[in-house]
Symmetry: C2
């Protein structure tokens, strides 16, 4: 692996130097990388409002940085809302984006001043109208991004065009404002055309609402989905921003709606490196073709997105420091007594033949969806530590 393809040299040196002498496993988050990503995203989508998807990395220092940079926030639960309020985010910069919420959560959010919600069902809309009256609501449309996203989101959230229309119909009898439509093309969506397809559907509903109902819908929440840097190739951010802006211009001409983005992975993904240690290298039999490399991080303490090998992280070994060395394909597994705790056995990583216990393995682009997924104590292992630098 060529390190420089995945991480800026200065960032790498900062992280590696910070990591010396610390007991593995742990996650290092480089805040400057997040700052840089935020600025780039703002430049790419200058007219869009950015609502950072807290779930991607709820580390308090990350939230504070993004708050200082002027970001708004997308919260998945009342617990995330509390966390945001605690660090001083004002409620008008928080969206309650989870379409699945208890009445008690809607009430709680409303009491705390939240007035922006997302829904994909009539029963949830009724609850919002009743317990968060006069709020703005995004209606989430189901789109077909699941077909090409590395971590698909399509099946569980959103509803059909027909059901979006039913919800708009219903909204007219309720105390809510249909503020916009939302969609999510799937997390780590590498195919830029998926946004175009989704925008076409949105436009269709906008026209229907205006022509049939006299309702002007003001905004589009395009969710997240912009890719981070993993092994599967994705384009640079500017390709996505150019193409998506082109789609918006094509579909909406002079009536460009307000755009909201909810980036998670694309803002924090490449800011993180998990530092792990090789616990054991072994073969099950002399005749077996592959060595097993067990490390002290696994599916249940940070690498859950290796489930079905969806996300393929760039991996860097420090065993020799040389890139020239002989390598061999290995099976990579975690430290627990659970055989589901295997990260990669279909996709084979080539690691140095000289790899041995105690060597460090660095998991690049692990700033998103790692530490918050850690199990509380599976096999007794404590959740992975995280450091911001």
């Amino acid at each position: 692996m060529i390190l420089e393809e995945y991480i800026d040299k200065a960032v790498w040196e900062r992280i590696e130097s910070f990591s010396q002498e610390k007991e593995t496993p742990f996650l290092v988050i480089d805040l400057d990388t997040i700052r840089k990503n935020y600025v780039e995203l703002k430049q790419g989508f200058s007219n869009a409002d950015i609502y950072y998807a807290v779930k991607a990395n709820p580390n308090e220092e990350v939230l504070k940085l993004l708050n200082d940079l002027g970001s708004s926030f997308d919260a998945a639960s009342i617990y995330e809302i509390d966390k945001l309020l605690k660090i001083g985010v004002s409620p008008d910069r928080i969206s309650f984006g989870n379409t699945i919420k208890k009445i008690s959560s809607i009430k709680y959010a409303y009491e705390k001043g939240i007035r922006l919600f997302t829904t994909d069902s009539r029963s949830d809309l009724i609850n919002i109208s009743r317990y968060a009256p006069n709020s703005k609501v995004f209606i989430r449309l189901i789109v077909e991004g699941a077909l090409t996203a590395d971590w698909p989101l399509a099946r569980k959230f959103g509803c059909s065009i027909e059901e979006v229309k039913n919800i708009i119909d219903l909204s007219e009898t309720l105390d809510v404002e249909v503020y916009g439509l939302s969609f999510h093309v799937g997390s780590q969506q590498r195919n830029v055309f998926m946004w175009d397809y989704a925008l076409l559907k949105v436009k269709d509903i906008f026209e229907w609402a205006f022509n049939e109902k006299g309702i002007t819908i003001k905004s589009i929440n395009m969710g997240g989905g912009l890719p981070s840097k993993y092994l599967n190739k994705a384009d640079e951010l500017d390709i996505y921003s150019e193409k998506i802006k082109e789609s918006i211009a094509n579909h909406f001409k002079d009536n460009e709606p307000r755009i909201i983005l909810e980036p998670g992975r694309s803002l924090v993904g490449n800011s993180g490196v998990i530092v792990s240690e090789v616990v054991l290298v072994s073969k099950k039999s002399e005749l077996e073709h592959y060595r097993w490399v067990y490390v002290d991080v696994g599916k249940f303490n940070g690498l859950i997105e290796t489930m079905d090998e969806c996300i393929k992280y760039p991996i860097y070994c420090s065993s020799t420091g040389s890139h020239e060395e002989d390598t061999e394909e290995v099976i990579l597994a975690g430290p627990t007594c659970d055989s589901v705790d295997i990260m990669y056995e279909k996709y084979m990583y080539s690691l140095p033949l000289s790899l041995k216990e105690g060597d460090r393995i660095y998991w690049l682009s692990t700033g998103a969806y790692t530490s918050s997924y850690c199990s509380v104590e599976f096999n007794g292992f404590p959740p992975m530590k995280a450091y911001c630098i």
Copy 2:
């Protein structure tokens, strides 16, 4: 679902009554059920030593109960060892059963008095010999249980017969005692013949060791695997104990080895009930055949073993209290903004048509491998609470 097929009526009433008025989601563990399971297991395998697999449920009250009942313990990490020592378990009743361990962990365990280890590789054996000299070692054989177990364990742990022999060879030059062979037929193994196949292999190695090396191996660690009560049918414990004892007698005749069992699921599985609440019932489209039922427990706060729908928990709804009511197949999903957080969409549970938000759904047989797997804060949700009664 007929409740009484999965849970004793008195236990159910105890749990249901305790659960009233408590905020969901939470796990209730009935300690009497664990006591009963332990006594039954001791009766079924009167000559065996029981090492409870702490990872199945590391709740301190559960560990204390089993300690009081005389159980020994199988620990997967130094953290579990610490937890056991803290409640007063003496180190000679603890086995360090994880074949994947750091040198620092071996040292730590040895310092704490642990003298029983499991290994499946030569490099780990060398580490044990060096950092835990004079300890007893189980060598773990790979067996084919993965083919039929609901939560397979075969691929990641254990080694081939040939490699077991290599490890025995190597042990002669080291400061360790090959105390026994171990195997694990896979967790929630419902096919009793898998134990027979494994025992045949063990016998073969015992004979080789005696005839070729003059080594008498004294014991067999049969790991866990005995099933708990889920939807997929399994036999009662006495069928397994009878058949397994028959296999041992057949293979070993008058030279019956010492038997160790490491039950986890079979001891605590049916002691637990997760109490959850319906958050939302919706359809993505009027034309869709299935309703989605979202509850406040999911893959990342307790139900990770629904991954690939491996474990099918018995589910009981309180919506009407009547079993006669009309039901309909639904998709069952968790509360997070992650579409991987769907419990069942291939296997369809039939739940009452009248099911609505706020109704309780009880997940039976959730005493094992639930609370310890909870994520620390995915989507901000706190880990599920657990109560012992």
